[in-house]
Subunit: 456 residues, 2 copies
């Protein structure tokens, strides 16, 4: 009898779940319809890219973006909008960089190059030295002192074999991030790094480099992939080549800046907070459309859409536009510190910083129990192109919330085109598809709404 009772209970439970999921499915359809038809995110992105433009931490444009997105959040219908202060580093590029390779016939091959973020500048008359090509740190260690007095050219292409291009980025990224110090250890006087790009073109891609230990800070610049291919081909002919380049970047005193935050207060459990966000700053070379204007406007769109449909979430939904993701993460530091100080219950955080490309999934950093719950929702996402729930981190800004026990997720858009334009001048508004951007926002809004209804 007990067994029959249990079976009946299980069946009833399944029926109820089925009904609940059907209702959820209808609500997500409503979210999708509203968003695909009436979203403001594409126009907001146009504004960020075209009316403001590059938004490097500490710059006037970054401050303009703070003000503009605070306004956008208000227009989206957030119950509360406020700024959260943070001090950010203020590195500036200065005049456009120049550089060339001197050819045997006296001609010059002009390089398409840019200083890496955080780099020191060359002397004011530039640096001239012979170039040595290095594929990886193993090769560098083997050569050791032979690089002394030279310009080390790190030429580690992003492997085309990874289907997820972020894996190739991680593999090759260490040469941009650590190449300068590793080469300085052996006496190199500067580094030129092949741009972290998945295509071959003339655009240099910037990004942070880091100096560590006590080795000299030497100038670091990226050259375009086309130049890297050319230079490597020349060096393979065993030609001795001399490079010249000049950069003018420097670090100014830290600037006052802000995260921009907008909330819809939860009805039943307002103290339980769901964070959804992207980062407001961008590199200075680009409009920062895919990185991460897209994430910013998608996060604002979550609030607009839920408000437009008249959804009153049970838990608080908070959009956070983080400052300074690209050059130090001071915005996310401030967010964490504030949450700790206020003893906030940050139950869930979702970051969108992989571009506004067509969505494919979410990466998760959650407990086993939370994962099971989320995977039950998988069929709800499938009609909107999301099928892939993997354990592959969450995001640079929300990752810090792990110490609060927050369940974390990251939107995982299709990655094929991202590194063609990431951190380069080609990351423009025009490179974003309106529908792809919106479809990402649909899935983010659906995920946020599900957690606001059911918790984790």
């Amino acid at each position: 009898m007990k067994r029959v009772f249990l079976s009946v209970m299980l069946i009833l439970d399944a029926i109820c779940q089925g009904h609940a999921q059907q209702a959820d499915s209808l609500m997500i359809r409503k979210i999708s319809d509203e968003l695909m038809a009436n979203a403001g995110c594409y126009e907001n992105l146009r504004y960020l890219c075209k009316e403001i433009g590059p938004r490097l931490s500490g710059s006037v444009n970054a401050q303009k973006a703070v003000e503009a997105t605070a306004r956008m959040l208000k227009e989206a219908g957030a119950d509360t909008v406020y700024l959260q202060p943070c001090k950010v580093p203020h590195w500036v590029r200065g005049e456009k960089e120049t550089g060339y390779i001197s050819l045997a016939n006296g001609n010059r091959y002009e390089l398409h190059l840019c200083a890496l973020g955080n780099s020191v500048a060359t002397p004011s008359d530039g640096i001239t030295a012979s170039v040595i090509e290095i594929k990886d740190f193993k090769e560098l260690d083997e050569l050791g002192e032979k690089v002394k007095g030279k310009i080390v050219f790190f030429n580690h292409p992003m492997s085309p074999l990874f289907i997820n291009t972020f894996e190739a980025y991680r593999e090759s990224g260490i040469y941009r991030g650590r190449g300068a110090t590793r080469a300085a250890k052996y006496g190199a006087i500067a580094v030129l790094v092949r741009s972290l790009a998945s295509n071959i073109d003339d655009y240099p891609h910037t990004g942070s480099t880091f100096y560590y230990d006590s080795f000299p800070k030497i100038p670091a610049a990226a050259i375009s992939t086309k130049d890297a291919e050319w230079l490597s081909a020349q060096l393979k002919k065993r030609m001795q080549l001399t490079a010249y380049f000049k950069t003018n970047c420097r670090s100014l005193p830290d600037e006052q800046s802000y995260n921009v935050i907008g909330e819809i207060r939860g009805t039943d459990l307002p103290e339980q907070i769901i964070t959804v966000g992207g980062h407001l700053d961008s590199w200075d070379l680009a409009e920062g459309a895919q990185d991460d204007g897209a994430g910013v406007v998608q996060s604002i769109e979550v609030i607009r859409t839920l408000k437009a449909i008249g959804i009153k979430p049970r838990r608080t939904i908070r959009t956070v536009l983080f400052m300074n993701e690209e050059m130090g993460g001071k915005g996310s530091d401030a967010y964490l510190a504030s949450a700790k100080q206020k003893k906030e219950q940050l139950i869930f955080a979702l970051e969108t910083d992989g571009g506004g490309f067509t969505p494919r999934g979410f990466t998760l950093e959650v407990t086993e129990e939370q994962r099971s719950k989320i995977l039950q929702w998988k069929p709800l996402f499938l009609p909107y192109g999301v099928y892939d729930f993997s354990d592959d981190g969450s995001g640079a800004d929300i990752g810090k919330l792990k110490e609060l026990g927050t369940a974390l997720a990251g939107l995982s858009p299709d990655s094929q085109r991202y590194f063609d334009l990431h951190h380069a001048a080609t990351d423009t508004f025009e490179a974003v598809s309106k529908r792809e951007l919106q479809l990402g926002a649909v899935n983010i809004a659906a995920f946020v709404w599900l957690v606001s209804e059911y918790g984790l």
Copy 2:
């Protein structure tokens, strides 16, 4: 004992299947690595788009494309390359179309327009008449004779609510295809059709219109979505508006043309033929990069990749580049007729004509048994982004093979960006991502290889 024996057999079977799938997985990884690193498809696409350009059926460029792709197939390593004759219609656009709306203040609003494929031209001095906006055929039928003597403006936007944009295309496509005849039935003298496009811009999108029944053939042209929005807004102000437009298109006598075919002969079962293909012709306004240069070069790439790895397929793999998909399907008619005449065993056909965007799945037209077999392969495709096997047709060219009992499939790429550029001047080489194109080819090659190994 029998039961134990059966269980052991089932377990052994599962183990063997597991092993087989592991080996298959390794082979597909090999296909992917070779293709992602060394594919020729992107360069072939550049050639088709930039060295040849638009390839309308019957044109000189279409013939150039026949010759170029025959060469590409040879270079890819096909055992046999041959041309399959077909007679194709030869419609020409003539001089660039012009048109405008006359404004009350005497000014003109210039229209971005193009004749629809197969349309008759306006009289040589153009057509001038008052414009009446129609949302759908129901509204047209209600108005009936009120459209007499007028230019009917079909303004049925592609709905943004469909996640798969092909569904919106099908819904709105009937006004391009049948609007002219339906309006002529009530005495309209011409039609202007809102471009079938998912975005708002200045580019008119062409495509076929069809005259049927005995109603007069009236000129049909597409206007850009931006113009359609403007025109609709003006008409909503209850303004009487007069349009003028002039088209110069005409149909010339049919031309001799060809399908281009290349094969790798199967080792064990050469009489069992797997067809993989896209279409060689394009509209005249565009480079036809996504539609369907992508499908052409992906289909050639299947042969190149398998040859490069040294795979000797058990069954015959045949790449077919169909002529005249856009304006009548004479190429696929010829392919079917030839197969029937030669009594070929066309066991499987796969078409790629949804653009070279990041792949998401395959549509299937197969038996239940075949579907089960294919679904067992699903885990093999997942690492390459393909997860969606749906019953949603296959393709315009291979669809005809259904009468031979051929199992059919179509590559299903992400559809978000396709109708921004489909049949418009924006369908250029630059709009294709190399990695997305290649990833589509990886999945096609994997599918074709699996069928060549295991049959269906």
